[in-house]
Structure formats: structure tokens, C-alpha cells
Symmetry: C2
Subunit: 454 residues, 2 copies
């Protein structure tokens, strides 16, 4: 293997292949911190598609598994290193070109989501998908997981904004799929197939994104409830009538964790808090905000606050975004991502409460409520083996609960390695077989991110 690796090192520009053990150690895990992570043979940090092709040709010839990695912010362990494998990090692939005329951006995968947003904003344009981690997650990783965020309730997910891509396949072939055309139905929808494939089918080295005109900064409505089910009922009433641009949920644990840190006067006694927004312009947005405030009140909100000051609204949205780090201050997190059809949201949250009580665990639930996509945050101490085991048990039980309610094991974080044991049970044997057939057709030797995704 050493001599094989030397050949790769020689083929690529100096500094592209890293074998320093300290650096390798820092690429073993993503944010999921999978304890089973291996130590890679090397980390490769290419700049260009051609270099990615070299890596894949080499990997195919030498039967070496390759784990693609964006910014390492993944929460399902999709970028967990394998012993003796390559970690292919796209972090240095950072070019972007914005075309305001076609309203598209062509970007390499290494830019952070926030950097893409910033680059297109200079042209008065907007890239909607906004994972809470948008300042530290890469656009390539967003594509790998089909990432969502807070805006999805109105603006959809990453897949809805990917018009085309360049992908390097397992054997090193580079292909271009789609492009800056808003409609194109020639051939199979391969662009959409690669979005969300978690690096198991190919490595995205360039992507063409659809952009929208800048978002209008509208109205925000914040409401506190003394019951989770009342808040959940309000969600269904709202989404049945209007299209809010945000409809977020925090439970009591999250409210208090955020208040501990930000001291912004959140209601510590509330069982649930909703942060809702409308980005419709002018009177229409105010009308929607009034409607949401009325629905919250009718569903028994103990406090309702509305504002058409965007900065004031942004403070509450930032509070919601801050929920994960705030709860993380209480211990390590196992971060869940289950989703259910909207009417099952209240049952999901109360079921999670039961699981928490049963295992003596603190589990905080935050949710993109308008999508039925929740993030139960399981707090545990990794140095406490018994507690870690209870946390892992709860992690699985929450997925089983969601599936039992007609939901999914992952709404936007991806399957990675952490959720793979539950995938076959969720999809069923026939759909699992269909996934495998496509995987085998595109990566017959199974060298792309084996053990993750599918």
C-alpha cells in the first residue's frame, strides 16, 4: 500500500495528499463523532475535478475505499473515516461564479452555505436552503445530504435548487449532469438522484444552483404555549391555509437552555415556543402574521409577540438557531432527525418524552414544525458507559417511534453510518434492494463511502 500511495502523492500537486498522523486524526470523524471511526491512510484535498478523477482512478485500481468529506459538519456520520481508506476533502475547492442573467451560480463544493448566500447576495439574489449550521456546513455536504433548514416549509430543500452538477464516478470518469436550464427532461433525472446520495454514487465537484431574487424581510411571530399539542395543532391550522416562510418549534428544555445563554426574556415556564415568519411583501405579509398570531391565540398561546422589524424578528430566529449549541452545553448530544406527517407531530413529541423518562435521559426537541421534521437532542455523557448505552437505545427507539407514526428515520441529516442499521427496516427489503441495484450499477466495487448512506 505504501508504494501505491507514493504513486498517488507523486501524481497530485504537492500538499494535496496529507499523511501527517495529527492531521489524519482530525479527519477521522464528523460532528456525529462516531466512536467506531477508523484512521485513514491519507487525506486528499484536491483543488480541481481532474485531481478528484486521479484519486478515484487510483482508488479503483488499488481497491481503496474513499470517504468524501465536505466541512465535516455532518450529524449522521456520513464522513466517518475508514481504516486504510482515503478521506477526500473538498474543503479547498472554493470557486464560485454567479450569473445574474440566468439567475444561477456555479460553485465548487467546498464553500460554506453562508458563503454561497453571501456571494449571490451581492447580485441581489438568494440561495434559500438554510441548515441551522449554515455558517459551518459546505454546499457539497448540503448536496450530499439533500440538506434542509428553516426555510423549507415554504422554499423546499437543497434538491429543489440543484440544476446541474459535475460528478466524478467511482472509476474516475467525470460527467456533467443538467446545467443552467430551468427545465430539462432529456434522459433520467440523474442530477436529482445524486442529490442526497451521501457520496455513495460519486463525488460532486461542481454544482449549478438555481437562485431566487432576494428574500423580503417580513414579519415574525413568536408564541409560547403551556402544551406541546396545542402548539402542534396550531401548526396544522396554519399550513393548511397559508405559506409561512418559517414555522419553528422549541420545547421547554431548549427554551431554557437558550435563555440560560442569551438572557433575552423567553418564557421559562412555557412547554413550547413557536417562531413563525412570513416573507410576503407589504400588507400580505402583515396579514399572514396577524393570521398566525390569531391561530396561536386561538390554540391557547400564553404569550404572542409579533413584529415587522426584521432585526427584532432575527433575534428570535437566532435564538432558535442557537438551540443546538445551547443544549450541547449540558452534555454531549446524540442528534436525531426524525420526521413525521404533520398530524403526528404532537404524538411524536409526547412519545419522545416517554422515551426520555423511561431511560432517565434529558431529551430536548426542536423542530422545523411546518415540515414535521424534528431534531430530538439526546444529552449524554460519553464517559458514562451505561448512560451512553441508554442514549443509543433511545436514539433507535425514537426512529422506531417515528416510523410507527408514518414518519422517516431522517428528514435532512442523512443516513450516514449512524442510521444505517435502521434503513432497511424503514425502506423494506424491496426498496432496499432497489437502492443496492443502483449503487452496484454506479459503484460496482463498492469503494465510495462503504457502510454509509445505503
Amino acid at each position: 500500500m505504501d508504494s501505491a500511495l507514493s504513486a498517488l502523492i507523486a501524481e497530485l500537486p504537492e500538499g494535496t495528499v496529507v499523511t501527517d498522523p495529527d492531521i489524519l486524526a482530525s479527519y477521522r470523524q464528523d460532528r456525529a463523532a462516531d466512536p467506531a471511526a477508523g484512521t485513514p491512510l491519507a487525506v486528499v484535498r484536491p483543488l480541481r475535478t481532474e485531481e478528484v478523477q486521479s484519486v478515484m482512478r487510483w482508488a479503483t485500481a488499488n481497491h481503496v475505499p474513499v470517504v468524501p468529506r465536505g466541512a465535516g459538519s455532518g450529524l449522521s456520520g456520513g464522513a466517518t473515516a475508514l481504516d486504510g481508506g482515503i478521506v477526500l476533502s473538498t474543503e479547498r475547492m472554493r470557486d464560485i461564479a454567479v450569473d445574474p442573467v440566468t439567475r444561477t451560480a456555479v460553485t465548487q463544493p467546498g464553500l460554506f452555505n453562508a458563503e454561497v448566500k453571501k456571494a449571490v447576495a451581492e447580485y441581489g439574489l438568494w440561495y434559500p436552503p438554510d441548515p441551522s449550521s449554515y455558517e459551518i456546513c459546505s454546499i457539497g455536504g448540503n448536496i450530499a445530504t439533500n440538506a434542509g433548514g428553516l426555510c423549507c416549509v415554504k422554499y423546499g430543500v437543497t434538491s429543489d435548487y440543484v440544476l446541474g452538477m459535475q460528478v466524478v464516478l467511482a472509476d474516475g470518469t467525470a460527467v456533467r449532469l443538467g446545467g443552467p436550464r430551468l427545465k430539462d427532461v432529456a434522459g433520467l433525472s440523474l442530477t436529482k438522484l445524486f442529490v442526497g446520495s451521501e457520496g455513495t454514487l460519486g463525488i460532486v465537484t461542481e454544482v449549478t444552483l438555481k437562485l431566487l431574487p432576494a428574500q423580503y424581510r417580513g414579519c415574525t411571530v413568536v408564541a409560547s404555549f403551556d402544551s406541546v399539542s396545542a402548539a402542534a395543532d396550531a401548526v396544522v391550522t396554519i399550513t393548511g391555509k397559508i405559506r409561512p416562510s418559517m414555522l419553528e418549534f422549541m420545547d421547554a428544555v431548549a427554551i431554557n437552555a437558550v435563555e440560560d445563554k442569551l438572557k433575552m426574556g423567553l418564557d421559562r415556564d412555557a412547554a413550547a415556543m413557536m417562531v413563525a415568519a412570513s416573507d410576503d411583501r407589504g400588507a400580505a405579509g402583515r396579514e399572514d402574521a396577524e393570521f398566525m398570531a390569531r391561530v396561536f391565540t386561538e390554540h391557547g398561546a400564553t404569550e404572542v409577540f409579533s413584529t415587522d422589524d426584521p432585526d427584532e424578528g432575527e433575534a428570535f430566529i437566532a435564538a432558535r438557531r442557537f438551540a443546538i449549541p445551547a443544549v450541547e452545553a449540558k452534555g454531549s448530544l446524540l442528534l436525531e432527525d426524525v420526521g413525521v406527517p404533520l398530524p403526528a407531530l404532537a404524538d411524536l413529541v409526547s412519545g419522545i418524552e416517554k422515551i426520555a423518562a423511561q431511560h432517565g435521559l434529558l431529551i430536548s426537541v426542536i423542530a422545523h414544525a411546518g415540515d414535521g421534521n424534528t431534531h430530538p437532542l439526546i444529552v449524554f455523557d460519553p464517559s458514562d458507559a451505561a448512560m451512553t448505552e441508554r442514549a443509543n437505545t433511545a436514539f433507535g427507539e425514537i426512529m422506531d417511534l417515528a416510523v410507527g407514526l408514518g414518519g422517516t428515520i431522517t428528514g435532512e441529516h442523512g443516513v450516514g453510518r449512524m442510521k444505517l442499521p435502521w434503513l432497511a427496516g424503514y425502506l423494506g427489503p424491496e426498496v432496499m434492494e432497489l437502492n443496492r441495484r443502483i449503487k452496484t450499477a454506479l459503484d460496482p466495487d463498492g469503494i465510495l463511502n462503504p457502510g454509509a448512506g445505503i
Copy 2:
């Protein structure tokens, strides 16, 4: 074969399998009227998924090709019958259930697009995709082709509204993909892969659609131009700034053909007419309409008409929808569907004019201009062999022209059989090979719609 067919007839409910030669003849072609269409062995009109499974199991066992067919309104020959094959028509599969709480509809493939719209409208909901043929095209066919329409410039295409489906695979296995969950990233994006696959990967027997709250009936702006490029430039200026809900183009031939029939006072001397709309509510929509009217004027429009009376606006939209039948009154049509990036729209239209002049043909161009998706209508007399040949030549030249401008050979009608000869040239050998690998992985015997789509 006769005895094999008898077994299928015996297995399915009475009347499901049709072998009457007159009826078979009416299922040979779709609206593309492919002269090379064969005569099927039988037409099968199932009611249930289980019956589709029986057909596919039988077809696999007997190596008989199966051509899935929706309403037969396809314009690329995707439902062209094969000699000795089965035409599997989904026309009798017409159940629909709307769930206003999850804002989804579960529908069988046989309903017309307009029927789906009507069924969900009863709940105050809206299914956006709106091919011009929405009154005569089936939702199953829409999914097979990833159909678009007039609303796509703001609301996207069919794929954006398909959350899940039931599909019967080549071997008769029925699988459920996705479901009524707005976010779900577990496993590969198979739902999206099947949308637009033109019956080559499986037969969709049920689909879960995402719905929106009812559309607001906003403002309409109509403008006439004495130059196509001025109209095209206006399009780019508009889409760079706002999100119109419609941005449609008609050329002089279409304007006059529609005026011949509808006598609504369209400007017969205009080189181009734009029909634009905004469905933003209240002042925002009026503001957008004023902006579009101003842009049209600044780009030299000879006449601009704005209205916030939805019925008045609807008359112009109906005129645009009527363009295809109106031009069809002049002869048979070869209906093109090429798309280009927006800045190339004017070059595409002028290139088509040259092709028309060169071959002595009448070619009218209508377009979903905001998407860069055009429908050149090549008028010809099928009883005139020389003219038919010239029309076919022009058909190919228009695709070559579009591809040369960075465009696609089909924006929303699909490849079918008519465009298949151009597919490999457009996609290139590597992407074509990728398509074939997936096709082979899912339909190893190649019995699903062979010769169409991919």
C-alpha cells in the same frame, strides 16, 4: 403467444385485456402520431396495482415489451405502441384522496391534470403544474415526462410536487417510495429518479402529491413588440428582479393564428406578444405588474395592457393556451420542445426563423419564456412526402441549434421515441452510459418501453 395471452386474459378481471382490432388501432399512437407505430398484441386497462403487477409478471415471463400509456396526449411518442407488445393504459385508474391536513393528495395515475386540480380545489388547495394540455393529459403521464407548463417560472415542475409513489417494476414487484413527508432523505432519491423516466423504469400506479394553498388570482400584463429580441431582453430583465407567476411568449404566426379563431383584438402586426402575470397578493402583485409593464415599455413594447381583473387576465392566458390548436388549424404539427438558458432565447428564435426560411416551412414559436423553454410548431402536410421530410429535417436542426446554444433537446415533453436519436449526442457517451446502467439495473430484460426515453 396466443395461449400466453389467454393466460393473462384469464388472470385479470373481465374486460381488462382488450384485443379488438379497432380498439387496438386507437392505442397505436399518442399525439405525436409516430408513423412508425406498431400494432399491439393487446391493450390492458387495469384498475388496481395488483393487476399491473400481474401484467408485468406475465410480460417478464413471456419476454413481451410493455408500453405504459396515460391519456395518450404525449408529444414525443413516449406511448407509441410496438408490434406484438402490450399497451398498458392507466386510464381507468382514477381514484383520488385529498388530505387537507398534510396538504397532500394520493392519486392514481389515470386522472387528468385538470381533475386533480379540481379535486384539491374543493379543499382550498392547489396543484400547480399546468401543461397547456392540462384538460386532456393524465397525472401519470405528467409524472412520466416530468411535465411543466405555464406556472413553472415561479412554481417549478412536476418533480417538485411528487413526494412519493407506488411503482410496479419490470418483474412485477410493487414498491412504495417516499410518502406524505415533506422532508425524507432516507436512501437514494428514487422518487425523483422515477419522475421523468417515461415508463422505462417502472409503472407508477399511485402518487403522493404536495399541494399548496389556493393560488391568489393576481394581475396580468400583456405586451406587443415589433421585435422578438426586445421581448426576450425584457424577459431577462424581469426574471432577474422579481418572480412572475407566468411569463409567456407568442410569435407573429401564433398571434395571428389565435386572432383568426378568437377575434379578441390582438395586434396582428406585432412580431411578439408577451403574457405575464403576478400572483402575489395585494399591493405586492400590483407593484410587480407595474414593474413588468414598465420593463416592457422600456424595451420598446408597442402596446402594453395591464389588468387586475382575473377574468380579463384569464382571457389572455387562454389565448396563449389556445396557440397550439390555433396553429394546428394550418396543418399537422411537429411539436418541438427545446429549451435554452434565458440569454440565448432571442438567438434561438431567430435561428428557428432561419431554419423555417431555409426549408420553406411555417414554424411558429410559442414559449414559456421565463424558463427559456420554447415550443416551435412545425406546420406540415403529412401527405406531402417531400414536405414531411423537410419538416423532419427542421425538427432535428432545431434541436442541434438549441444544444449549440447551451440548451436541451426537451424541456418538458420528454424524449419519447421521436427525440431518442438526438439524446446520446446531447448527453454525451458517458452520461448516456450512466442512463443505460441504471436502466439495466432496474429493467434487465429491457421490456419497459424499449426504444423510448433512454
